[in-house]
Subunit: 307 residues, 2 copies
C-alpha cells in the first residue's frame, strides 16, 4: 500500500509565537509531496522535517490571510536559489499570482523553474489535480474571504485477482481487466461465474480532508463524508462560541460535530487562538470529544498516517 | 549616557537554514527601537529578544532581495492584530509600498495604525530621520539592485559647562547656551576668556553604520568615517573573491579593508554564504583581521553596545 501521511509543519493561528508556527502541512503520497498552506517560516519547518524543497511539486493555498501564505515567496525563492528546474504548481486565489510576480519583479528575479499558477475560485468544489492514484478537490469553506479546503483522495482501485481461480476456469487473458473491475465470467458452456469467485475486494480508498479556516458549516459534510482523516480548524473553545461565529472560525465542539456528521475515521484539530495556553490543549480535546471520539491534536512536527 | 545597542536578530544570507536566520537587526537608542531589515521569521526573533512589537516605530529596509524583507508583512500584520495604534514608519524602495498594499488588499485588511511610507532612492546619501538626539542617513551601496545601508548617528552634543567658573566670571545667563556651543566670553572690561575655561568637551557622538548587501566600494568610506561600530557584510571568504565580485557581495578581507580605511572603532561581520560551515567562522574572523584588528562576528541573539 502506498505511503499516505500528513506532517504538521505549523498549526498555530494568526499570531506566531515562540511555540506555534502558522498553518502549513506536508502531505506525502508514495514519492509525491504536496504542501498545504505556507505560513511564515514554513521553509525552515520543511528543513526540520528533513524533506528536500525540490521534492515539493504542488502547493495549495487555502486563502490569503497572511498566516496561511506569507512563507510562500520565501520558499519559492529558496527553490530558485537551490537550482530547481522542475515545474512548481501553485494553487490559490488569483491575487496570489499578482503578489508572487510583484515580489519577483522587485528583485529582478527570473525563476529558474516554471511556475504554473492555478486560480482557485469559490462557490463549488472543483477537481484541481489528478494522477494515476489520486484526485484532489477543493472544499469551499465559509470564511471572511475566499477560502478553500482540500480533499486528497485515492481513486477507486481495481479488485484483486485470485490467480489460481482464473487459471482453474481458464479465463482468457483479455477478460482479466474487466474481471478486476467487477465483471462476472461466462464459461464457454454459458455458465455465469460470479465475480467474487475470482477476486477479493480492493483495499478501501483513503482520503485526507483539510478544512481551515472556516466557520461551522455542514454544507461541507457531503464533500468530506467517510474521509479517513479530517483536519478541521478549532480556533476557539466553547465559551468563545460567539467570537467564533463573528470571526468565521470554529470551536472544538463544532469541529467534532462536523467529523461526526461526515462519519470520518479520525479527526485532527489545530489553529488554536494564541489567547489560549498550553494547558488548554486538553480542553480542546475534551470539548471536541463530546461530539466525536477519535480526535487528536495536530502537533507541530508530528506525522499522521492516513489509513 | 543614553543606551545605544544593536541586537542581531538574523545574520544569515539568502538561504535560511536551521541555524541561520536572514538579515534583521534591532537598534535601541534610549527608549526608541529601530528595525533594520526584516527577513522571514523576524517577528519570532523579536519575540525571542523580548521586545514588544509595538515599541518598534521605524523600520528601514535596505533592498528588495527577499532575505532582507520577506518578514515585514508578517510583522506588520501581527502589529495590527495586537492592536497597534501608533504610526509605523517604513523606509525602502518604492516597490515595497506596492507589495505591502497589494497584500493588505488581498486579505481586506485595513490597518488599525497609520503606515507612513518613506521612499528611498539611490545615488546620494539622504537624511531620512531626525530627532533631538539622532540623525539617520542612507549609505548608498553597490549591489545588484537599489540598496541602501544606514548610518545612525548621535547629533553633536553641547560642551559641558563648569558651573563654578561661570559663577566666578559672572557669565550672564543668556550667554550660557552660546558658551556650551563653544563661544568664548568677553568680560565687561573687554577681556576675552577662552571657551575651555568654562567648559569640558562633550562626549564624543556615537554612530552605528549598517552596510549590507554590497560589493566592495570605498565610495562609502567618507560616509561612515570614524563610526563607533560598523556592520559590513562578508558573504564570502577570500578564495571566493571572484564570486563576491560577480554577485556584488564582499569578502571578509574587504569588510576589514573598509573598516580600516574608514577608521571605525569596531567591526561586525555577517551574512556568510550558506555554503560555509560553522567551523569556517574563525576563518572569516582571521581573514578580516588581516586588515582590521577589532572585528567580531555578528551572532544571532547577541547584543552589541555602540560606544
Amino acid at each position: 500500500m502506498n505511503k499516505f501521511e500528513v506532517t504538521i509543519l505549523g498549526s498555530g493561528s494568526a499570531l506566531p509565537t515562540l511555540k506555534k508556527r502558522p498553518t502549513s502541512q506536508l502531505v506525502q503520497y508514495s514519492n509525491k509531496y504536496f504542501l498545504i498552506d505556507c505560513g511564515e517560516g514554513t521553509q525552515v519547518q520543511v528543513r526540520k522535517a528533513k524533506v528536500s524543497f525540490l521534492k515539493i511539486s504542488h502547493i495549495f493555498i487555502s486563502h490569503l490571510h497572511g498566516d496561511h501564505y506569507f512563507g510562500l515567496i520565501g520558499l519559492m525563492s529558496s527553490m530558485h536559489l537551490l537550482g530547481r528546474v522542475a515545474d512548481l504548481h501553485v494553487y490559490g486565489p488569483k491575487e496570489l499570482n499578482e503578489i508572487i510576480h510583484l515580489q519577483l519583479r522587485a528583485s529582478y528575479t527570473q525563476l529558474r523553474y516554471n511556475l504554473v499558477f492555478h486560480e482557485l475560485v469559490g462557490k463549488d468544489s472543483q477537481k484541481i489535480y489528478e494522477d494515476k492514484n489520486l484526485e484532489i478537490h477543493t472544499i469551499p469553506l465559509k470564511h471572511k474571504i475566499l477560502t478553500n479546503g482540500f480533499l486528497i483522495q485515492e481513486k477507486p482501485r481495481p479488485r484483486k485477482a485470485k490467480p489460481e481461480k482464473l487459471k482453474f476456469y481458464e479465463v482468457p487473458h483479455y477478460k482479466i481487466d474487466g474481471i478486476k473491475r467487477g465483471d462476472d465470467f461466462e464459461t464457454p458452456s454459458g455458465e455465469i461465474i460470479p465475480n467474487d469467485t475470482f477476486t477479493f475486494p480492493p483495499e478501501k480508498e483513503r482520503s485526507y480532508a483539510f478544512c481551515s479556516d472556516t466557520a461551522y458549516s455542514d454544507k461541507i459534510v457531503p464533500l468530506i463524508e467517510n474521509s479517513s482523516l479530517l483536519y478541521h480548524e478549532a480556533t476557539f473553545l466553547e465559551k468563545e462560541n460567539a467570537l467564533a461565529k463573528k470571526t468565521y472560525h470554529s470551536t472544538a465542539v463544532q469541529a467534532g460535530l462536523i467529523a461526526n456528521k461526515a462519519k470520518v475515521k479520525g479527526l485532527l484539530i489545530g489553529h488554536f487562538s494564541a489567547r489560549y495556553k498550553e494547558e488548554d490543549t486538553t480542553t480542546f480535546l475534551s470539548e471536541a470529544r463530546t461530539e466525536f471520539e477519535n480526535v487528536e491534536i495536530a502537533e507541530e512536527g508530528k506525522t499522521y498516517s492516513v489509513k
